[in-house]
Amino acid sequence: MKVRRTPFDVVYQTTVEVFMVFIFLVVAIPLWRIIMQSVTPIDFAGTNLQALALSPLKWSFKAYEQMLSHPSFIRAAANSTKIVAGGVVTSLALTIPLAYVLAAKTLPGRKILSTFILIPFLFNPGLIPNYLVITGLGLADKLAAVFLPGAISVYNTFVMKSFFQGIPEELRESARIDGASEITVLFRIILPLSKPILLTIGLFYGVHFWNDFFSALLYLNSSSLTPLPILLRNILMAASMNEYVEANAFSEASILSIKAAGVILASLPMVVAYPFIQKYFTKGTLLGGVKG
């Protein structure tokens, strides 16, 4: 079937494609800029030229060297990793049973459980009451304070529950008839079938815990526990070298490039995980039944 291509169509299509390029540039230019800042050496003069240059006119990786070898940075990266590891394990351990039980059609009290979960979701008393609970539990200044309070996300629970509901009930029932206990059914049958959703939700939680800075700001006081986002924030807010680098360290990279390098390094895990995220997030969101 041949469709007539009018001049109007040509103009329209060109506008669409130009718009696409425009959007790409709007997002890409700031990202490119910060990459460029991070590899610009300290003695480079002439920021006016730099503004419009397509590539750094002189390269220097000193900022990265300094960041990566700095003990604070290594410690912060380790702390963030511990938080993510602890967080994802705890969250999955708590979310999976909850989602599974919520999806169990024949279980008495399911509605009650559902309401029990939804009430705090709808009504959040705010920062102070939560703060009092967490400090009251003695979690202050412990890494667990960052991931424990947020361990179960109601949204994630319901996404997972939708998924479990999609698994045919007959599978569970026939296993039960064959004498399998509920636990066996969950671990031997349901979970192996649920790899996509487990990965998705695990990723959801992982991203959340890696990026969290506010809980860390509130509850972690020791500098030995500082995770990466807080360290990055401190670096970004530092007006001069002395506020960040130890007083007698001689810095070969400008504070600007160090800030830029810090941002790039902090976002690397996201960028590396991004292909997986793209694959599973879009599927996960659609899987979870956010209907169009």
Binding site: N48, P125, G126, I128, N130, L132, V133, P149, S181, V207
Partner: protein
């Protein structure tokens, strides 16, 4: 549906047997229930200090009741108008500018005839959603800082004076709104793109045969088909209208722009944790929570009525 009504009408004796049969499930879910009790319900219990003259040394039970004193103190304070105004301003502005941008983006991706562009734009616009606001703060510094920001470099090149975008009250709100759109437009566009992809292609083919041009197709087919989704998204966001983006504003704001940047949550943080006015901050948080809940429930009811699907 069948099994739920069965459980509801089952006589007492069989109900107990059902529960015993499923006892492993109850045990399985126990840790999660305990988690909820500790981390979600205990704070609700703590929230009563909003109605008390809370003295930390006396504890919650030992502090005297003060009724609505804390609430009245807040309502009468000069902050009340400012906070509500700022909170609503940011939420509405982000909604007003963000939703059309996301729809436009989804449309462009949908209409583009170059798969390379589609993949490229999708990939790069989804990414900022996963970056934390601290990283965004770094990005914004690289763009807007008066000394070395890209935007100011360009301004200087054109002969203008540099502007301190993030510390000037008149420009700060736009930094907030535009950076939020920049960060979230790709992610927000996903839902609209999914809706666009769900439109029956034969509708377009029929329109082609009738000789419709591209804009007519959009006006008569595309937009009406995704109108439902747009309405649902807007309603859901309205339900969260009091959450104006605490993490973003907290990271980006500073003393010179408090008057235009302070939203309810940032004020609660400062008054509550930095000034130790626990009871007052809790009262404000509670006030926000109650109104927020009313909004959420209402918007969700509307959504359910309109589309048959809901948040939960």
């Amino acid at each position: 549906m069948r099994s739920i009504s069965r459980a509801a009408t089952v006589p007492r004796r069989n109900l107990w047997r059902e529960m015993v049969r499923h006892r492993a499930l109850y045990i399985l879910v126990l840790p999660s229930v305990v988690y909820f009790l500790i981390f979600k319900y205990l704070p609700l219990w703590n929230a009563q200090i909003a109605f008390k003259d809370f003295q930390p040394l006396d504890g919650i039970m030992g502090s005297a009741w003060s009724g609505f004193d804390n609430f009245m103190a807040f309502f009468k304070s000069y902050y009340f108008t400012e906070l509500i105004r700022n909170t609503l301003f940011y939420s509405f502005a982000k909604l007003l500018f963000g939703v059309p941008t996301a729809v436009l983006l989804a449309l462009a991706i949908f209409e583009s005839k170059r798969p390379f562009f589609r993949r490229l734009v999708q990939t790069i616009t989804y990414l900022p959603h996963f970056l934390s606001w601290i990283i965004m703060y770094g990005l914004l510094l690289m763009l807007l800082s008066p000394g070395d920001g890209l935007v100011n470099d360009v301004l200087k090149l054109l002969g203008f004076k540099p502007i301190a975008f993030m510390t000037t009250a008149s420009t700060f709100p736009w930094v907030v709104i535009l950076s939020d759109i920049w960060k979230e437009m790709g992610w927000s566009a996903i839902i609209f793109l999914a809706a666009l992809l769900a439109i029956d292609p034969s509708l377009f083919e029929a329109a082609d045969m009738e000789g419709a041009n591209a804009l007519q197709k959009i006006k008569y087919i595309t937009l009406p088909s995704i109108l439902d989704v747009i309405v649902v998204v807007v309603l859901l966001r309205l339900g969260n209208i009091l959450d104006a983006g605490f993490h973003q504003i907290f990271v980006l704001y500073s003393y010179p722009v408090f008057s235009v940047a302070d939203i309810i949550d940032t004020w609660v943080y400062r008054q509550g944790l930095l000034e130790f006015q626990f009871a007052l901050a809790t009262a404000v948080g509670l006030f926000k929570g109650v109104i927020g809940m009313a909004l959420l429930v209402t918007s969700n009811r509307l959504v359910r009525k309109l589309s048959g699907s809901s948040l939960y």
